[in-house]
């Protein structure tokens, strides 16, 4: 511990000089300022000389020790000045040769990223959120009641041919669409209901360029009093304009889904050729993006809603297909391989 009760003594003075001098030496940007520092601290009339003149006031028995310290300080500073002088000299040399090459690449961290299909799903959900929709979830393993019966699809009916189903057990299957979430939500909540059901769906299709046995779907459902076909069309139009761009046109065509009636297939004008016809839209100028329609009253009856009081609309789309269209991905399989060369493109 320091002897803080003593008056300002020589040793402390020397220490202060050492610190200040070292700082000045290190801070000298060129030979000239280094020389100034040397004169200021080590010169004949420098601070060190002046301090040593106070040696006389030191009690004689302490003088040898103090002298030793003063010498040490002197040596330290002289060495530092020498080293600094060398440094400055070599710096001067180098800076004359070449500046730092700032064309060299910087140091980057790894970039993470969200899967392109997730990007599309999130965007769909964000847009429908503006229309008051929330997201719902349901099991991927379903009963045939939720997957078919509740949605007005009799099991022994040609309509069931549309779904080549993975069964796990009698009456237990991997859902063939995310529509059973509709049934589950309506059985739990009273209208108004405005939900999206993103998630996986499964069909017994082997992998090829446009099919995968497990794929994503986003299902939507709106039920309330007074929802009509006009509102349904307006909602879909709103989504299409927000997602594909304000200049995109929509086309509604009759179609058939057991759980909606009237049913409609929604086409959008081809985003690649803007409607003039290209390979992507098979020269039609239009691309099919979703199946939709007014909820069939049979579905309301199955889940215990009054079909006379409530009406609604439902729609479903495949975000993987939309991602393929949007990013120009020719083969669906690449989406599910997790190749980092692919995923990094969306990071």
């Amino acid at each position: 511990m320091s002897s803080k009760d003593e008056p300002v003594n020589l040793r402390e003075t020397l220490e202060t000089i050492r610190k200040d001098a070292l700082a000045a030496i290190d801070g000298a940007a060129d030979a000239e300022s280094l020389e100034k520092a040397r004169v200021r601290f080590l010169g004949r009339k420098g601070l060190l000389s002046r301090a040593l003149s106070g040696l006389r006031s030191v009690p004689p028995e302490e003088r040898p020790e103090a002298g030793k310290v003063a010498n040490e300080v002197k040596e330290t500073l002289e060495t530092s000045i020498r080293i600094r002088a060398d440094q400055l000299a070599s710096l001067a040399d180098r800076s004359e040769v070449a500046p730092v090459d700032l064309t060299m690449p910087g140091r980057r961290p790894w970039r993470g990223g969200v899967h392109p299909v997730s990007i599309v799903i999130d965007e769909i959900c964000d847009i429908f959120k503006e229309l008051g929709f929330t997201r719902a979830a349901g099991p991927e393993v379903e009963t045939d009641w939720h997957n078919f019966t509740a949605l007005n699809i009799p099991l022994d009916h040609p309509a069931a041919d549309m779904h080549d189903t993975f069964y796990l057990d009698e009456g237990v299957l991997l859902r063939t669409h995310t529509s059973p979430v509709q049934a589950r939500v309506m059985m739990e909540h009273d209208p108004p209901v405005r939900i999206l059901a993103p998630g996986m769906a499964f069909r017994r299709d082997p992998y090829d360029a446009s099919h995968a046995p497990a794929f994503e779907q986003v299902e939507g459902l709106a039920v309330d009093e007074g929802i009509d076909f006009i509102e349904f069309r307006a909602a879909i139009d709103y989504f299409v304009h927000r997602f594909f761009g304000a200049s995109t046109r929509t086309r509604f065509r009759p179609s058939y889904f057991p759980f909606t009636e009237p049913s409609a297939e929604v086409d959008v004008s081809c985003m690649i050729c803007e409607g003039s016809g290209c390979a992507v839209c098979k020269r039609t100028g239009w691309i099919e993006i979703m199946g939709s329609g007014m909820v069939n009253p049979a579905v309301f009856e199955a889940v215990g809603y009054d079909p006379e009081r409530y009406t609604g609309y439902a729609f479903g789309m495949g975000p993987a297909r939309i991602a393929m269209l949007r990013y120009g991905i020719p083969d669906i399989r690449v989406l599910y391989e997790a190749d980092v060369g692919f995923l990094e493109q969306f990071a």
Partner: protein, 820 residues
């Protein structure tokens, strides 16, 4: 379903426009048209020619020299390569200078020394069919020199319609003509065939009836509703006339002979499947519609079947002669020797037809229609059309008496339609009259008030027999919407009430986890839900009919799937792989009862999984950041613990039992494994992946992985602001030498437990093992930072605190302070 535009226009001349326009119109009102294909275009230079004489080419065995009359007044020499050419036969011919479809120009030239003045053509060369073996024999009712397109009723166009399951009525030309003709059914007239007319006298019976020594019996009325039979005698079976062949080809059907073509024609015209039996082959002159009795049968495609009682058959006195509603039998098939026919026109039950088709593995034009329901009210017209077409093309005479067995034609369903409902569901204010104007052209009858009906009033709509899909009011709403035109609805925005359903915590948690993990430099994978047995754990759920053994089970864990993805990346030469996935895993088990009575025998859980390997940062010219190691995984988990609140990380293997699905796939967990707990609940596992658990190339770096239950992710932030410090801190470094076995966490806790409230943080900043400490010991260096919220700490306070901390450490761990 393929449709000929010419055919449609022959049924309803009011159908106008190009094939593309008709396709667009049909798509916008009824069913999508996938493709429009021209048929017989580019045939302007092709004429009908008569081959007068055929000789062998002197220099080539396979070539013939023909003398041809192409109606020009001179006889032309033509070299031809076809194997069989009939003298006096009519064939399509392109004179020299003419152009084939596709642009190939025919020149006058020498072939092996003989002059050829044109070309006799095959179906394929003309783009009319698939047959390229021989040149195309034309029916004899043409004249040399006649333009071929005109002779064949060309050019035509084919519409490829993608029928939806409900609209079976559109599987025929009349059905589509009803949709396309501006006046609907009023515009349609069935053109006569030019042969004798036939108006039968019906011999009718509920179960059985006879005429012309033939008896028809419906043994099981559940399998067959109605059965009409007509007898035509003395026909001459042969090729159909050109117009009939051309029609069938344009509609995608291959011509066979005049009798079969006649049944197919009526099928494609009116949607009624018909079958012609060779009357001579019907044993006992008896037709019985019944269940099969475990008997053998060969269908006319040559396949042998063993028929069980699920299958419905048409049998004669001895054996089945046809699969009811599906396919005729080989034994009773019409051949060139056939002279007398029995024409069947029946209504088979949809369900039984489906079973018959499924059991025999056959799906035919007939079964497609019967499965969906045919128009029972149109059967008499259909059999009449068929008999008249046979008479016109194959000659013979039809018995005046015909058989009709089964139930009477059901009355058309009558459905109430409320204009108020049209308004509430569609948003359209339509009067009864407006609704009737939309529906009546399609064959619906509409009764009720036609004036302006705001809220009261009700229409009664009779459904035509061919609309088997229309049974309820909502079906009529769809008809109204379609006919009104989806594109004609007004564009209006509506207000809406917010949903009563909260945004699902599953997706909110997934959002948070996805954001965190991608911000941590990981790439999101979306991989298969299916796994092989070896990559599952516990009791995996197996698919009843998997696509392959490698995809036979539902995944039970994410890490083994992600390791498969890492291996895939290695196989592509990627050494640095950082993947995460959020998805469901499954276990077989017992679930709760469901409304259908089915028990969900599979349970599932959403998880997040992570697999990382390779460099810690991208390579850089200043030097490599080195490969990731345990501390990188640990850091990621610690960040997740802070950022997502997933729980506490503890070293060690996971306990065998825990709430939720087992975090079970163990082959990857080795000596460096971690658990994540929320209280006593195991929510995750992590660690260095054992080398044996992955198939790694020699250059691969070690893999680290983690998996946690998504429900462990905290939703509520629960953070509270702390005042920023206003007084300076004091830090002290403390290097402790202690037994190697004392874990750092225990030391950290001991420091905290003995420290005053002014200890702001404790961080391990250096670990040393080596020469300077004894064997079995190590040095842990900690930086302690003290701070008081309300004053500057005095040295003494800090010294005191450090003193009591070190005393405690000396006491508990026999720790020694290492002087620096």
């Amino acid at each position: 379903m393929d449709l000929s535009v010419k055919w449609l226009q022959s049924l309803a001349p009011t159908i106008e426009g190009t094939a593309e326009e008709l396709a667009a119109s049909l798509s916008s009102r009824a069913v999508p048209v996938d493709r429009v294909e021209p048929v017989g275009t580019g045939l302007d230079d092709v004429v009908v020619a008569r081959v007068l004489e055929v000789r062998r080419h002197p220099d080539a065995d396979r070539l013939s020299l023909c003398r041809v009359d192409a109606g020009t007044g001179e006889v032309l020499d033509v070299v031809c390569g076809a194997p069989l050419i009939d003298e006096q036969g009519l064939y399509p011919f392109i004179p020299a200078g003419g152009i084939l479809p596709g642009g190939f120009r025919i020149e006058r030239r020498k072939i092996r020394g003989e002059i050829s003045n044109g070309m006799l053509c095959s179906e394929k060369e003309l783009g009319l069919g698939r047959d390229s073996a021989g040149i195309m024999r034309l029916a004899d009712d043409h004249l040399p020199g006649e333009s071929l397109p005109e002779a064949l009723g060309m050019p035509d166009a084919r519409l490829e319609v993608d029928l939806t399951p409900n609209r079976v009525d559109l599987a025929c030309h009349v059905g589509v003509a009803r949709e396309l003709a501006p006046g609907g059914i009023g515009d349609i007239a069935l053109p006569p065939f030019g042969g004798p007319e036939w108006s039968p006298r019906w011999k009718t019976g509920r179960q059985s009836a006879s005429a012309g020594h033939v008896t028809v019996t419906i043994e099981d009325p559940e399998r067959c509703f109605r059965y009409l039979a007509a007898i035509v005698r003395g026909v001459e079976v042969g090729p159909s006339p050109q117009w009939l062949q051309a029609r069938l080809r344009a509609a995608g059907s291959q011509p066979i002979n005049n009798v079969v073509d006649s049944t197919n024609y009526v099928l494609l015209e009116l949607n009624q499947p018909l079958h012609a039996f060779d009357l001579a082959r019907i044993s006992g002159r008896e037709i019985r519609v019944r269940a099969a009795r475990n008997e053998a049968h060969t269908t006319l495609d040559g396949t042998e079947h063993e028929l069980g009682p699920e299958v419905s058959v048409i049998a004669d006195a001895e054996r089945p002669i046809a699969l009811a509603g599906v396919m005729g039998g080989a034994d009773s098939e019409v051949s060139t020797e056939t002279t007398d026919l029995l024409i069947e026109c029946a209504a088979f039950d949809p369900r039984h037809t489906r079973h018959t088709a499924l059991e025999t593995g056959l799906s035919t034009e007939a079964s497609y229609r019967f499965e969906r329901g045919i128009d029972e009210s149109g059967m008499e017209t259909a059999i009449q059309r068929c008999v008249e077409l046979i008479l016109a093309t194959a000659g013979g005479a039809a018995d005046e008496q015909a058989i009709r067995v089964g139930r009477p034609v059901p009355d058309p369903p009558r459905i109430s339609l409320r204009p108020s409902r049209v308004r509430s569901v569609l948003g359209l204010r339509l009067s009864g009259g407006q609704i009737a104007a939309l529906l009546e052209p399609l064959g619906f009858s509409v009764e009720g008030p036609r004036g302006s009906t705001e809220t009261s009033g009700k229409l009664t709509v009779g459904v035509p027999g061919w609309r088997t899909d229309v049974r309820e009011e909502v079906d009529l709403l769809e008809e109204v919407a379609r006919r009104y035109g989806y594109e004609s609805f007004p564009q209006e925005d509506r207000s809406f009430r917010p949903s009563t359903v909260p945004d699902s915590p599953v997706w909110r948690r997934a959002d948070r986890a996805r954001r965190f993990l991608s911000a941590s430099g990981l790439l999101e994978a979306r991989s298969a839900t299916f796994a092989s047995r070896s990559r599952t754990s516990g009791r995996p759920a197996r698919l009843l009919k998997p696509l392959s053994e490698a995809e036979a089970f539902l995944r039970t864990d994410l890490v083994p799937i992600l390791l498969g993805r890492v291996e895939h990346n290695w196989s592509r030469g990627h050494r640095d792989v950082r993947l995460f996935e959020i998805g469901n895993v499954f276990q077989a088990g017992s679930g709760g009862g469901e409304p259908s009575g089915a028990v969900l025998s599979v349970v599932e859980e959403t998880r997040a999984g992570v697999a990382i390997t390779g460099l810690r940062a991208p390579p850089h010219w200043t030097g490599s950041a080195g490969d990731m190691e345990m501390w990188d995984l640990m850091g990621l988990l610690e960040e997740a613990a802070d950022g997502l609140g997933i729980g506490d990380i503890r070293p060690g293997e996971p306990p065998a039992d825990s709430e939720g699905l087992p975090l079970g796939w163990r082959p990857w967990l080795g000596s460096e494994s971690l658990c994540i707990f929320q209280g006593d609940r195991l929510v995750g596992v992590a660690g260095r992946v054992r080398d044996e658990a992955v198939d790694s190339p020699v250059w691969a770096a070690p893999v680290y992985a983690a998996e946690f239950r998504l429900d462990a992710v905290r939703l509520a932030e629960g953070r509270i602001f702390r005042d920023l410090p206003t007084f300076p801190s004091v830090s002290r470094d403390l290097a402790l030498v202690l037994d190697r076995k004392v874990v750092a966490a225990a030391v950290g806790e001991a420091i905290l437990s003995a420290a005053p409230a002014t200890l702001e943080s404790v961080d391990l900043f250096d670990v040393y093992e080596g020469e300077k400490v004894e064997v079995g010991q190590r040095s842990l260096a900690w930086r302690l930072v003290f701070r008081a919220p309300d004053r500057t700490l005095r040295d003494e306070e800090v010294e005191d605190a450090v003193g009591s901390i070190t005393a405690n450490l000396e006491d508990r761990f026999d720790a020694r302070i290492r002087s620096s």
